[in-house]
Amino acid sequence: MTNVIFAIVVLGVLGAVFGLLLAVASKIFEVKKDPREEAILSHLAGANCGGCGYPGCAGCASAILAGDAPVTACAPAGAENAAAIAEIMGMAAPTGERQVAFVRCTGGVNAKKRYDYVGVKDCISATKVAGGPLECSFGCLGFGSCVNACQFGAMSIGENGTAVVDPEKCTNCGACMKACPRHLIVSVPASKKVHVTCANQDKGKATMSVCSSSCIGCGLCQKECKKDAIHVVNGVAVVDYEKCVGCKLCTKVCPRDAIIPVATAEEKEKYKAIKKAQAEKAAAAKKAAEEAAAASAQ
């Protein structure tokens, strides 16, 4: 019995001594930390996704504190938390609409293949082999580097073999945009629905020959838009989200179905018929006016 008690006492004393030493050491070796860092950290998403470009959320918090990163550095945390961080840092709350990632290509099976790629299933590796297996040097390769980069399960390879974003799950952290070797993924306002699904900047003929759903830069959408919200820039149509009201007129005139939501053939026919009728009416009115003018002259 005394043995047991002796053992307990000795080990207890040993433990207490170590505990005391650690307590003393923690005072001696204390590293002063800014309490704001903890506060900022509590407002970050906590997923350690690396989308901000810093090693984990703690790295981002210290970067925000040091002023190296903006208060909005953590996209997944959302506007509310960005405002809270701004308050901690003593700055005005930022404003802005929720943004989501968008893949500017729906080519996939529509795009022509140059060769059969059998290497590592990774977009960066694929682009290293003679510029990638697609004829189109701008198209989505569909090996899913962005899918792997996404920490939120918001990306997948869609039915036609290109990456698609689930806007519900997307936090606009930007990890996929960095992972895509072709820079096909951009931030777009979550509320806007009309997007150009091609990024090919080549001339019309070259673009037409490599993919059946490519933007050839014909400019029909630009002419059709009543709000001046879509323009052909560097051979590819680009939506100006500040001006776009989502009327979808451009989708109805696009001969390549390169603007989503893609209009069905029926819708297109209908729109064509309406336009024709309008044109006829206008022509008739003009003719009538001319006749009237001629009559009054006589």
Binding site: V10, L14, G15, L22, S26, I28, F29, E30, V31, V120
Partner: protein, 195 residues
């Protein structure tokens, strides 16, 4: 001179012939868990080497105390206590004195508290009746053996990405098969005899 020969024998034994992972099967958890990338494997290996060397020294001294008090049978419990406190202390010390090393070792440092290779080296020192210098050398070289094993294993695992093997083997199974083959290879060192 004898002492130097003994130290050389301990070194060779701890790194190659009696490698902690491949022939004593200690420290398997971090060996499998932290070996997906060579960088992190190097970090873990260095951290383990560091703690094993220090733990050998301190536990040897603590054992002296235990033997004096006639409590040698409490070694395991006492050593766990010592190692846990030591790792905490090292973490605090590094954070203050060498922040760059602290960030480099990162999360692996506290993980070592539960590494059985560290406890194993402490107990083996006593079992083998090593003196203080031999104990410390055994601790450090044992850690180096761990470093060698985990870095080799991590570089093989990195290359496994390019290998074609049946789908059922993906992930952990192929890692275990690899580890087994490496252990077989290290068995070759057990025939090593210099003196």
């Amino acid at each position: 001179m004898d002492q130097i020969y003994q130290l050389l024998a301990i070194t060779l034994g701890a790194i190659l012939a009696n490698n902690f992972i491949f022939s004593q099967f200690l420290g398997i958890c971090p060996f499998l868990g932290v070996s997906k990338k060579v960088d992190t494997a190097v970090g873990m290996g260095i951290a383990v080497t560091f703690v094993m060397g220090l733990a050998s020294a301190i536990t040897w001294l603590v054992n002296l105390l235990l033997v004096k008090l006639g409590l040698a049978y409490m070694q395991t419990v006492a050593f766990i206590l010592v190692i846990a406190a030591l790792v905490q202390f090292i973490e605090m010390f590094l954070q203050k004195a060498m922040p760059s090393l602290y960030t480099a070792l990162g999360v692996y440092l506290p993980l070592i508290t539960t590494n059985c290779a560290v406890l194993g080296v402490a107990l083996l020192n006593i079992q083998n009746n090593y003196n203080f210098i031999s104990s410390v050398v055994y601790g450090i070289t044992g850690g180096l053996g761990f470093l060698l094993a985990i870095v080799l294993f991590a570089s093989i695992r990195e290359r496994l990405v390019f290998a074609e093997y049946p789908k059922a083997f993906e992930g952990f199974p192929i890692a275990l098969v690899t580890a087994g083959l490496m252990a077989l290879a290290f068995m070759g060192f057990s025939g090593l005899k210099i003196w």
